[in-house]
């Protein structure tokens, strides 16, 4: 019941945001661009394990700020798994490398810590583009 009242209240508030009778109607808001929202994808998916801000230190995963173009496995203090180091030592997180990683992280570094699988090239591109320019 409380949830129903809450939902009704939200809709009612939205409806009340009308312009006054004497003012011209507000210009129509353009529909949101279709396609992946890189910022949302990074914050909601990557952000469940990785810190994202400038100067952030590692959390469950190393910080992703500045990751594009960075060498893999070098963030101080983070315990990369032996499997990760084996597969990725010396490699650089180029856009192409990140794209392979986000497609199937276990294929790139079997038995490493991150289990990430995304088969949508547009989403992966949106994520990488946002990481490159947060």
């Amino acid at each position: 019941m409380r949830l129903l009242i809450f939902s009704v209240a939200v809709f009612a508030t939205a409806c009340l945001a009308r312009p006054g009778l004497s003012a011209p109607p507000a210009p129509p808001r353009p529909a949101p661009m279709p396609g992946p929202d890189g910022r949302m994808l990074v914050k909601q998916t990557c952000g469940t394990c990785h810190t994202l801000g400038k100067g952030d230190k590692a959390s469950e995963g190393p910080t992703l700020y500045g990751v594009v173009g960075r060498k893999a496995g070098i963030m101080p203090g983070f315990n990369y798994s032996p499997a990760f180091r084996k597969a990725l030592a010396g490699k650089v997180w180029s856009s192409q490398m990140l794209d392979r990683w986000l497609t199937d992280s276990q294929k790139v570094a079997p038995n490493s810590g991150m289990a990430f699988f995304n088969d949508n090239p547009a989403q992966r591109k949106a994520i990488i583009d946002y990481l490159a320019k947060p």
């Binding site: 949830l3 529909a31 998916t45 230190k57 469950e60 101080p76 986000l102 289990a115 949508n120």
Partner: protein
Amino acid sequence: MTRLGLSRRSMLGASVAGAAGALLTTKAAAADKGADAPFDAETDVVVCGGGAAGLSAALFCRWQGAQVTVLEKAASVGGTSAKAAFWYWVPNNPGMQALGIKDEKTDFLRFIARLTEPDGYDPGDPHFGMSPWHYAMAEAFYDSGAEAVALLDAKGALPYLHIPEAPDYWAELAENKAKKGRVMVPKGINDAHSDGGRVAIRNLMAAARRDGVTVKPSHRVERIIQDASGRVIGVEASTDDGSVRIRARRAVIFASGGFTHDEALRTAFLAAPVMGGCAALTNEGDIIRATSKAGAQLENMKNAWLAPIPLEKAVAKDGSMVSTFAMTGDSMLIVNKYGHRVADEKQPYNELARVFANWDGAKSEHPNLVLMSIWDQRAQDKCASPYFGSLIVPDGIDDRHVIKGATLEELAGKIGARLEALHDHISARLAPDFQSEVKATIARFNAMAAAGKDTDFGRGERAFGLYLNGPAKEPGQKNPTMWPLAPQGPYYAALIVAGTLDTKGGPKTDVDGRILGLDDKPIPGLYGVGNCVAAGSGAAYWAGGGTLGPILTFSYRAAQAVVRDSA
């Protein structure tokens, strides 16, 4: 948080009426569609959510011959499970059987009753004082847990490692007749037993791909679709390119997690003053909105799997936080704003987190709304850990929650300043005599630590506290969990508040995962597993692994029910 996907038909309405109108237009358009509008895809079983609950349910259905599609809201599967240590607690499990460790059913159910309904517990009652539903759920857990985990292991989807030395959180209760042996972890876990979730998800996903389960990331299930009789026959999900309707010929199984990250639902329902948690950020209680129109009955909404969380991370909405499972440090104690200890710091995290809700009727306040863990340089040097949400962290690990002072006076001043800076989020302030009181508390603690006995709260007297504490840090340390704080600084502090692993209330199911209506009858075609539905444990945290053990078990039972019901 997620943009509402607009169906192609409602794009025109959206551009004319603006955002609010778009919301209403889309909902109106969707409500008209019902069973007769075309579907974009179809399968036997739609699973909403790709954490441990969803992936295991998908596999259990697939192994019985069903065609299965997992719809995952985030850009990849894993959910909260991927971040978890992934202990799973299973009574009479294959490991116990192999070692001859007894775990009798009647004894187990009595123990569960003692924890789940302590207020009505009655050892002489046939159901030990539990409600019929709690009893049935506990019985189902006992009956099917071992089979479920054995099958996952046999299929190579979740090979296990038995950890017979891990003590139950309630090892000291007389009703617990098997104090060790119920804990299993994914095989391949690290030595700290902290990364089980990553092992589990990669194994479950590998099996899902091997066995032909379809997994679609970035699909947010927003609506169920019912036919004229009320049977659930599909879902509507929003994606980057608009919404899609997917037909489920046999069942829809929700495994979408709790509502930790929906502030409105938290405030409306939770008993504890929870400010956030380490659940997947996509856990916003979607099942509640999606199934309410079908009349799903809600149960256990006030409860959550609780743990302390750092206040700064909660306020920053740091999605990457891990709740504090291990309260590290021996020269460490926790005080409230009055400078007083309030609990055994080393008790299981769910129990420790319950003190945040303590109420002072004279002052009309929660005196423990925010607590401070205080430790010295010695603990910083010896007890730092990157695991289990330790507040004491090594270099390179996120330390935004750490406050440092050269002296206790300076530390107290900085704590006060930190609370002041966060006053938009929390009203607590240090009491005027905090400094003198905390010094007295530390002096008292130090004397108890030297003697090796916490006469106030019994720290170090329970198996759980000793197990997560690790070995003693000092030769001849009488109580491995206690050491006097140093007379000189620097000192460190962290502000902690109530948090969750995730919530544990939602639609009520029967013992086979069928979601029930208000009349306690199953809504045909609709099932739920995991933290999105009501846990059978009430407020209780039965043991480490007391989340995932039941989840894997009920996932198994739900899959069996799906096949029986749709045969």
